[in-house]
Symmetry: C2
Subunit: 197 residues, 2 copies
Amino acid sequence: MSPSSLDELIEALRCLPGVGPKSAQRMAYHLLQRDQRGAARLGNALLHALEVLRHCARCNSFTEDEVCPRCANPRRDAALLCVVEMPADLAMIEQTQSYNGLYYVLMGRLSPLDGVGPRELRLDKLIARATEEGVREVILATNFTNEGEATAHTVASLLGARGVKVSRLSRGVPVGGELEHTDIGTIGQALIERRAV
Amino acid sequence: MSPSSLDELIEALRCLPGVGPKSAQRMAYHLLQRDQRGAARLGNALLHALEVLRHCARCNSFTEDEVCPRCANPRRDAALLCVVEMPADLAMIEQTQSYNGLYYVLMGRLSPLDGVGPRELRLDKLIARATEEGVREVILATNFTNEGEATAHTVASLLGARGVKVSRLSRGVPVGGELEHTDIGTIGQALIERRAV
Ligand SMILES: [Zn+2]
Ligand SMILES: [Zn+2]
């Protein structure tokens, strides 16, 4: 008996990670009853982001351009390529102000239990990028979780086999920790003390 | 350095209740990276719901029509008017199959600490509806929380002063409990044993 547009909104809200039926319902009522402006803003932001965002042809992060401003910046050191899991990790490294190279964003990590293998993570794209002329060193800055370590290990093997020099952030980052929740001083130190693998 | 459409999406997601900056970021990445179809569906559902949903002129619940199908149904007993806080509460009462009257949905509750008084809750609209010819009894089915009880008390006073017969769900519903989380057998019993106030 409830209007189909309301049912559809509740159902659609469940695509958000961690949102079950009850919280989807609560969110829908909140938006419709208390924050219609916020709801309109969110609706438009979603459709606009889907329309204009794509993956940078160089670093694979989100951008509105073919190549993102960071990758296109000639003052960046193109000899260094830092591999991170997510854009949030890239942002943390930028905040350390200890790094002036380029990045490659995996947009995930190897996670066999979730069906994310080398193919799903498009490691071929990373290999193509890392073996381009001018790349002198690839710095692995995946998280120090089990999945992040496994990802680093796999990438190191693949790139090592192709003669690419690969390093890993030093273990200044706590074992089991995630970059996003580490203080930037520690990350900066770990970047300076990166070790060959 | 992150694209403005991505920043805007992350910011817009924060209009959802209980979503802080970190979870907004996580949601945005998830939608853009893993569930673009879900994101498009949500964006369209939000804009469509905002466009077509309004409050029923009779029961105040969400509907796509001037008067919702339930209020327009001639087989409903128009002499009974059951007042609930939210559409989810109405749905619970419907599920008991113990009630065939009409409803009025407050879309909230009195909550002085949040600045929701009789004016914000539009109790004038309820009074107008409850004092229409043909309404024989108003059944208060607000929650048995402090705020729900205070709301019931205020509504009972306002309607009692106008000579309207008012009843309250019996205390079969656990004190401090919320309808939405109560088993429908208990709600059905409470409906049958409603007491005059
Ligand atoms: Zn880029
Ligand atoms: Zn109605």
